[in-house]
Symmetry: D2
Subunit: 208 residues, 4 copies
């Protein structure tokens, strides 16, 4: 019982770890979403919009700016100064408790527009992914659900030293059947439930 | 000897295959280079500029336009019409006898700017990489020489149905020591020789 | 029309290539299958058994010996002499017109038992995969159909210098629903048709 | 100061986390090594033997049994019962505070003998890699140092839900020049120092 008393004595957000047990006062978490598609009616955009409603209590989720606001990476531009959109996204990631990357797969890999954003962010003096809890969600029109993009993205995230959650993995097959094209809402209940499960796991992961 | 006589009868560029033997009139080849870096003083740009001088006889090598002229891929832009730079590069690849991709590795993978170009080209009504002989050259400041980018690129090229040469692989380690920064020339003799060997192999590969 | 007359003059199995056209007398082909599972009631074994009935005319398909007959790779054993099973499989591959690798995915990659076989075969004085037409078929209990194993396998096959067909790719999702457990037959018609399509493409690929 | 007093009250190995600060009583750690080569004079075996001398204080490192004691994975054998060597290795990993995988690269990927061991271990009722701190060391005769094997191994470790350290990565290029063939000792000072740096980072990683 002393742990409760002790918790009252220490600053907000403290966790006391004894052996393998973690007693937490459920620190509120703020996650940000990074979307790998620029299409207005993007199915993955529909997923991003659904995330706040699928998050567990005490978790807020907010979209980062668009990767479409970044120029193509060029070290000569960087030498003059980082674009404002890059700096802003870097700061938003740095302040967040975790990053949720939601992306289609293009040509069996990560979309160029998303990789271009990572290439910019990776050069920031304070590289924002270092040690940052990160999780991936992909989808595709076929059955594979973007799996090929996930492991390429993970390889880049090793270099960026992100703390990427292993499981559960969200790979949304036949994504166009799971979004209502008229309203742009992620309507498939099984998908919503599974994403919700991943977000709950990610909240625990980010609190460790 | 009839093969020579026969060759005279058939259209230019014919090859006669009998069993495993190939008798060729050494069709002249035209290769194009696709550069994955936008930096003006790019080391990989120095490699691209050196290639024509390292090619075997009967092989010309010409740079494609810059991937920096492409917008970030967006299906909404595509719906309005492919950008002129994308169409032009697609046509240049379609007419070429082979493509040489020369690229740095960013964040353990293909640079976003190069992947973005592939994402655009892959959507062209006549996808230009289909069946196209293709070879890869990477470099890096460290010892690994861009190897990690090569296999991610190969995975995309499976989807694009390119005919990618396996060996020899060009991975230029410590690339900054192999280019003269003052003149922007690829000066390292061992690297020049090895690239020349790859280009000779690639010419045979493209003639098959 | 002279090409037909000419064809009559040349040895069996000649192909005359003029420009892009290939006229072939449909050389009979002999393919061998390499199975990546040792389980007696293997679903992938059912696929291997079905292949001869799904092949196009003039194509015979025969299973290689079991990868279960190889010892774990050890260079000290190799120094004494290659095991007979390794030598026999190497010769069978060398004589074949193409190799069909049929394998499950274990732990998001190539099964150790299959990779072990490749590790042995790769050390043979005449490495049998060099230039050998090769195609991949994977399956899995889930939706991804073994896709993750395919690209790891392709990376090894780059080193082995195999000539691997890009498309169509066979990835059998929910493979247990496509095999009749009682008879061990691949019964799913859509899967049979798709495999047949791949085999027809592979025959053309191997004849090039 | 109360944290020290508190530490005295709690069981051994407690860590008290307040905000971002970690105060640790430097729990002793026990790591185990998993070697991916069976050759008696293996260069990677020399690395494994050197690790205990390169570890930080309070860290002991002990080799696991040989992956050469495992049969080729076969679900039919598993159905009868896990081999004793598999059970023993699974228990040793489960009890350890972390796993150090030391392996060559074969055919641009993970050696079959190592993958076979993972395939067995992955089927144990209590899968021992789940949540287990894990780090990778590879080497090769060339410059790439086994990098290609590292990311394939990492992909399997995602499925196994291991907690794999990102950095620093140990890739030993030209490994035969760094081991004294006569004594079988890892003699290269730069390599020893770098490995020592990784082990220190891994001890911190495992204590989190």
């Amino acid at each position: 019982m002393f742990s409760m008393a002790f918790a009252a004595m220490v600053p907000h957000h403290a966790a006391i770890v004894i052996g393998d047990r973690i007693m937490s006062d459920h620190k509120p978490l703020h996650f940000v979403t990074l979307l790998g598609s620029l299409r207005k009616a993007s199915y993955h955009g529909a997923v991003v919009r659904a995330l706040p409603t699928l998050a567990p209590d005490d978790v807020t989720i907010e979209p980062l700016g668009s990767v479409g606001d970044f120029p193509l990476y060029n070290a000569d531009i960087q030498a003059v100064g980082f674009p404002a959109a890059v700096l802003a996204m870097g700061e938003a990631i740095a302040k967040a408790d975790g990053v949720i990357i939601v992306t289609p797969e293009y040509n069996y890999s990560v979309p160029g527009v998303l990789k271009n954003a990572l290439d910019w962010l990776s050069r920031l003096p304070t590289q924002p992914f270092a040690g940052k809890p990160t999780v991936i969600q992909t989808g595709s029109p076929g059955l594979v659900g973007g799996a090929r993009a996930q492991y390429h993205l993970r390889q880049s995230l090793v270099f960026l030293d992100a703390t990427v959650m292993n499981k559960p993995e969200v790979m949304i097959s036949q994504i166009m059947t799971k979004v209502d094209a008229a309203t742009g809402q992620l309507t498939d209940e099984a998908t919503r439930t599974f994403i919700s499960t991943q977000l709950t796991a990610f909240a625990s992961f980010a609190r460790r």
